[in-house]
């Protein structure tokens, strides 16, 4: 594994056992998270981003079967670790922030108790741990942190709770932070301050962040690179600017076009992507996007496209961009 990458997912295949067969939720997923960078992961419901996030954190459901692949954190393949070793990694080298901070904080314990509990690995005294908690709350700009420590989660506003969750996740200065839609439940003004805060803390701590979202504007402002998933596959990855300026995969292009924020002219009729997701139990033989793709041509229905480099994108899985496919 390259020294400059904090995390690398290689050729990951995950499926779920369901009545009637195997639901192939993730297929041939590659994801590169360079050290100290913020990497966006974008996709619509059912694209597999949650399964990917859970597998990286070792939190996948018991119905999930990891068929093959590697998740490299430094020199360690997380998929070879037992539950106990995985616990040693989580909260130390890797941590997470989830969508709903109310669900990730314990409602019957004070914030201070939770912030000192989470430092269970440290040999520091109770007082030092408390001081560290205050310092972290200051970093996430919670006013009057000393007295806030003795308060319960319900006494904080939604935006503050999410900042507390971020403070807790970054307390151990992990190599990788997985942020699963951390701003989706927040108002626009709060979303913005939370993004600013994440960016600052990331610079200070130097950790890498996997930022999962469906908000394209957030990706554009926050992430150095972006990965787009569709129906369990990675369809396009590349530097954010390049991908936004000239999307190479037709799905990426349509997804960007649908975002009302991207439409400069006021219109009464918003673009949509017609059709439905393919079944992940009986996968189509060709490209997964073929049924909804306006640019589909001869090979798309039968042949699964391979990964190629195209335009400014590092990878795209589309026959249109494959120089060896005759158009």
């Amino acid at each position: 594994m390259s020294e400059k990458n904090a995390l690398e997912v290689r050729d990951l295949n995950v499926s779920y056992k369901v009545p009637g067969g195997k639901l192939r939720a993730l297929r041939q997923i590659d994801l590169i998270v360079p050290r100290g960078e913020i990497v966006g992961l974008v996709g619509e419901s059912g694209c597999g981003k949650t399964t990917l996030m859970q597998t990286i954190l070792g939190l996948q459901s018991s119905a999930a079967v990891i068929e093959s692949g590697q998740i490299m954190l430094g020199d360690t393949d997380l998929l070879t670790l037992g539950p106990k070793q995985m616990r040693g990694v989580l909260g130390d080298r890797m941590s997470a922030v989830f969508q709903d901070p109310m669900k990730s904080l314990n409602p019957v314990l004070t914030i201070g108790r939770q912030m000192t509990d989470i430092q269970f690995r440290s040999k520091a005294s109770q007082r030092e741990k408390r001081a560290r908690a205050v310092e972290m709350l200051e970093k996430v700009r919670i006013p009057d942190p000393e007295s806030r420590l003795d308060r319960y989660p319900f006494e904080f506003s939604g935006g503050m709770r999410q900042r507390v969750a971020i403070a807790m996740a970054l307390m151990a200065e992990p190599d990788v932070l997985v942020a699963d839609e951390p701003t989706t439940a927040l108002d626009a003004t709060l979303e913005l301050t939370t993004i600013d805060l994440l960016r600052e803390l990331q610079k200070e701590i130097g950790c890498a962040i996997i930022f999962i979202t469906h908000h394209l504007g957030v990706v554009a402002e926050l992430c150095q690179s972006v990965n787009i998933m569709y129906a369990g596959e990675m369809v396009e990855s590349g530097p954010t600017r390049a991908v936004f300026d000239a999307p190479q995969h037709p799905y990426t292009e349509l997804l960007f076009a649908c975002d009302p924020a991207q439409i400069a002219e006021r219109t009464r009729h918003l673009p949509t992507i017609g059709g439905e997701l393919p079944s992940l139990i009986n996968l189509p033989p060709g490209c997964v996007f073929e049924g909804r793709c306006p640019k589909a041509f001869a090979p798309c229905a039968d042949i699964h496209p391979r990964i190629v480099t195209s335009g400014g994108s590092d990878m795209v899985r589309c026959h249109l961009r494959d120089p060896e496919v005759t158009k």
Binding site: A188, A261, T272
Partner: protein, 330 residues
């Protein structure tokens, strides 16, 4: 044209406190909606915009006759909504329909789509002669295949459930539809579908639409007028395009710019708001926005601003409204 809906000085309040303290002190109230006025014509769309806790949903509930402890005037189609007798109130529910935020959980999981679509008729004792034909008609109205009638909510995608919610709302041919966050939780590719549907139906059925949202990107495309709410009051209201082009209230300008965007220039010119929304129990003095306003002056902290109305019908409450260059005037 006369207005279908006319709201004047609407106040909706909730009691707070309780426990032992309330035995000794007077009951305290918070005004979640604190004096809101606006009009809405048939065939038009008004968007209510604001952060969480700004009173959007409380306002909508009061208009639909679902509020408690509401004062002021709400006139709908010539009727006084806040003082209706029982039977008139039921009639009002036929004419003012609501589409709820969480489409899937607003549908009973044990009902089929057919039963869900016929439920409004049942409640109002208006069962059509040919229920099956009516179900088919409603499904095709919202662009769902008629084979959907036998499905149950868990077999529907988010967008489909939303469409069933829309069909249910339109079942009794209402004149006003209130849509509370109609696209929250939907993927962008489906968002457009639901908004296009609402818009087409508005045109076809001459509906008045009241859309509650905090997604400003969609407001620009769907709403004729928009009202920006802060702490239960409307701080600016007017033509949507004009407000987007030239916001007068600094809060409006901040909200409009607080939109993560792919446009690097917009990100640079952003107005950043300081602090959090104040508590309704302890409303700030003077202009209630002064604690977060980037252009605050002494007057703002002491004097409550009056409502200003421009020739184009725009209303805003600010001592030093923004000019065309985005800087405060006066």
């Amino acid at each position: 044209m006369t207005d279908l809906l006319s709201v004047r000085d609407l106040v909706s309040r909730f009691p707070v406190g309780g426990g032992l303290g309330s035995l000794f002190s007077a009951k305290q109230y918070i005004e979640a909606v604190a004096g809101v006025s606006f009009d809405l014509e048939a065939g038009q769309t008004l968007a209510l915009v604001g952060e969480s806790g700004s009173g959007k949903t409380t306002l909508a509930r009061a208009i639909a006759g679902l509020g408690e402890d509401v004062s002021g005037d709400v006139t709908f189609d010539g009727r006084d909504v806040l003082n209706l007798a029982g039977s008139d109130r039921k009639a009002l529910r036929r004419e003012v329909a609501m589409i709820f935020q969480d489409a899937v959980s607003s549908l009973s999981p044990r009902f089929t789509v057919r039963a869900l679509l016929l439920e409004p008729f049942q409640i109002h004792d208006m069962m059509p002669d040919d229920p099956d034909a009516e179900v088919d008609r409603m499904l095709s109205l919202v662009g769902l295949p008629v084979t959907m009638a036998d499905r149950r909510p868990h077999e529907l995608s988010g967008g489909q459930a939303r469409r069933v919610g829309v069909a249910r709302a339109l079942a009794l041919k209402p004149k006003l539809v209130i849509a509370d966050e109609p696209t929250a939780g939907l993927d962008v590719s489906v968002q457009g579908e639901v908004l296009n549907l609402l818009n087409d139906l508005r045109e076809k059925l001459d509906l008045a639409l009241l859309v509650i949202t905090h997604n400003l990107n969609i407001v620009r495309h769907v709403a004729d007028y928009m009202a920006i709410m802060y702490l239960g009051r409307v701080v600016e209201i007017g033509d949507t395009q004009r407000i987007f082009d030239e916001p007068r209230h600094p809060y409006t300008a901040a909200l409009l710019s607080a939109n993560p965007t792919t446009d690097a220039d917009a990100a640079e010119q952003r107005i950043r708001l300081e602090g959090e929304v104040p508590s309704l129990l302890d409303r700030p003095s003077g202009c209630e926005f002064h604690g977060r306003c980037p252009f605050v002056r002494d007057k703002c902290r002491e004097v409550v601003p009056e409502v200003s109305t421009t020739q184009a019908g725009r209303r805003f409450t600010c001592h030093f409204p923004l000019g065309p260059d985005g800087a405060p005037t006066g």
